[in-house]
Symmetry: C2
Subunit: 351 residues, 2 copies
Amino acid sequence: MTKTRTAVHHDASSSSGDPQAIGRMVTSYDVAKLAGVSQSAVSRCFTPGKSVSERMRTKIMRAADELGYQPNAIARMLITKRSNLIAVIVSNLSVNPDFASILSQHMIERGLNLLFFTLDQDADADRAIQQLWQYRVDGVISAAELSVEQIGVLRERGIPLVFINRLYDVMGANSVGCDHAEGEGWLIEKLVSAGHSRFGIVAGPEASVVSRMRLRGALDKLAALGCAAPQVVHSDFTYAGGREAMRGLCGGKKRPDAIVCANDLMAIGCIDEARLALSLKVPDDVSVVGFDGYAPGQWGGYQLTTVRQPVASMVKAAVDMLVARIEEPSMATEKRVFSGELVEGSSARID
Amino acid sequence: MTKTRTAVHHDASSSSGDPQAIGRMVTSYDVAKLAGVSQSAVSRCFTPGKSVSERMRTKIMRAADELGYQPNAIARMLITKRSNLIAVIVSNLSVNPDFASILSQHMIERGLNLLFFTLDQDADADRAIQQLWQYRVDGVISAAELSVEQIGVLRERGIPLVFINRLYDVMGANSVGCDHAEGEGWLIEKLVSAGHSRFGIVAGPEASVVSRMRLRGALDKLAALGCAAPQVVHSDFTYAGGREAMRGLCGGKKRPDAIVCANDLMAIGCIDEARLALSLKVPDDVSVVGFDGYAPGQWGGYQLTTVRQPVASMVKAAVDMLVARIEEPSMATEKRVFSGELVEGSSARID
DNA sequence: CTATTGATTGCATTCGGATGCACTGATATG
DNA sequence: CATATCAGTGCATCCGAATGCAATCAATAG
């Protein structure tokens, strides 16, 4: 039986006059045939940690090289039930551009590959979850918000999940994040102690968890320091949104002397609006602070005072946590919270 | 035999006291058993275009829903030899941040999924190629430069490849790109006809194909218009690199009156350097133009004159071309070149 | 010299869905 | 009424690598 099969394989591969020319895949049987060993031997040879004699290894490797053989990950996945695939979910407005790049490096080091999903519409999340399940990914890293139901689906199916930059209090949702409230508190402290008293806050969308945490941090600190309640407007995390928000905040009679933005991009918008449209000097007339560590915020024209999120540490932690969970599924749910790093730029008057 | 097998499956799944709780996967056999039909029927039911009666379809679908069945893409891939996976290769400095997002949308529409590779080190490219081959991706879109050997490997293995934003003249390399030379020519024309005569060019790295094409376009047009040879410096496509290049160009006695940058980010760096360090007015003292359509370039402070690459069209074309090639592998190699769109901002004096 | 141990190796089976083939009815045609 | 046609269906097999088990063989121990 096995012999027949091997023969068939050989026949097929030797009929190289195949016009389609895509050439039948080289399989472990082909290598086995050429090396004069069994298919099992070839398989073991390509599976780290299996016992193979040196003689056999070199024989097989020579044959494999000659044929250009690479194990078929698909077939391997089917039997081992390990795909070495990690699904990464990002929403279009989320995150840092180099997030994907950093993540990718960590994956490479661990021999994992990235199945990438972006969410533009709400329906996309369900589709993504369906797809990643069909591909039997080993785990999921999400930089986008998911509904409780969606998290539940992953939980039921036993797919390890780690949120990055979103701290959830949903059962089974591991997460890695930045302490938004703490960082926002630092900014407020700095601003208050430098004498600012009329605060304007440009928050993100009401639905954004991240925005809510940052807002809460700011409000709590202001209250703790006995400051007057700030003027709060909600925007959309974009540059244009920041400009518009600034226009709104400075329209009234008592213009704020400090603007606290939920992210750097909006802060940049605020600065541009202040300088270009409102003829205000930053930071002399108004201080502006952001949150994130978005690279353009550090350009010469802005030099934003902000809290930089430790993206590299967060990504590393997320991958570590995910891998740990894959290897030990019963692990307890865990949150890892990193402090941000205060960046004192010249966009705010803080002595 | 089949019955035995089905029975085994059922036994396993009914022993739900399983502590590991990851719960055996639900297979088409389970669904077939519950619906009282054959496994083939279930398979046909989930394969578009196969003939199944309405009665059977509803029966099967009900059973599938009840068990939460989703076909296992891995097993399907193994037999159909179609993974519905597209590898996307980007180098860390390449491209537009929203490139991935746009691409993802097109993929979703076609039922394809994205296997994502970023190249940070040179060795990464070979690793990526090895991996994507192991996963038997249906095709590759590369926004990074690959060596002729690497392209050759893909060709030999019959994996369709489309470059995006890199036009190659290598056999078998399909590509989609922007007409860099043309766009650069437009910019030069505008600048010359507005009276600029002393040109400084900030090119990208010498090795960058894109940079070379843009440089060539500028030089050719300048020569065609009978202008004096410009001063050319090579930089690295970064903000800091742009600033440094500007410092270099303006160090001599005869300062250029127009700076042509190989991308927008460097142009932004040039503008900041001019304004903040050299106390030059842009565009009064010096005009600066870029290339790309990088969003921050359009912020109020910069309003860059540039050529916007039609990213959306390019991505769509790349996906179309790739899909066509997957379906008809013998298709001739093709290049699709899009014209950019001239954006006349206020960073250059062009009347 | 024989028994024991442990490292290699091959065989047969398995993963889960797709599909060629043969078979069943039912409808359409002459 | 006999026959051609065809949509539906089940059976058996296949895709390509991993692995439990048994067999083999060499080396060490007694």
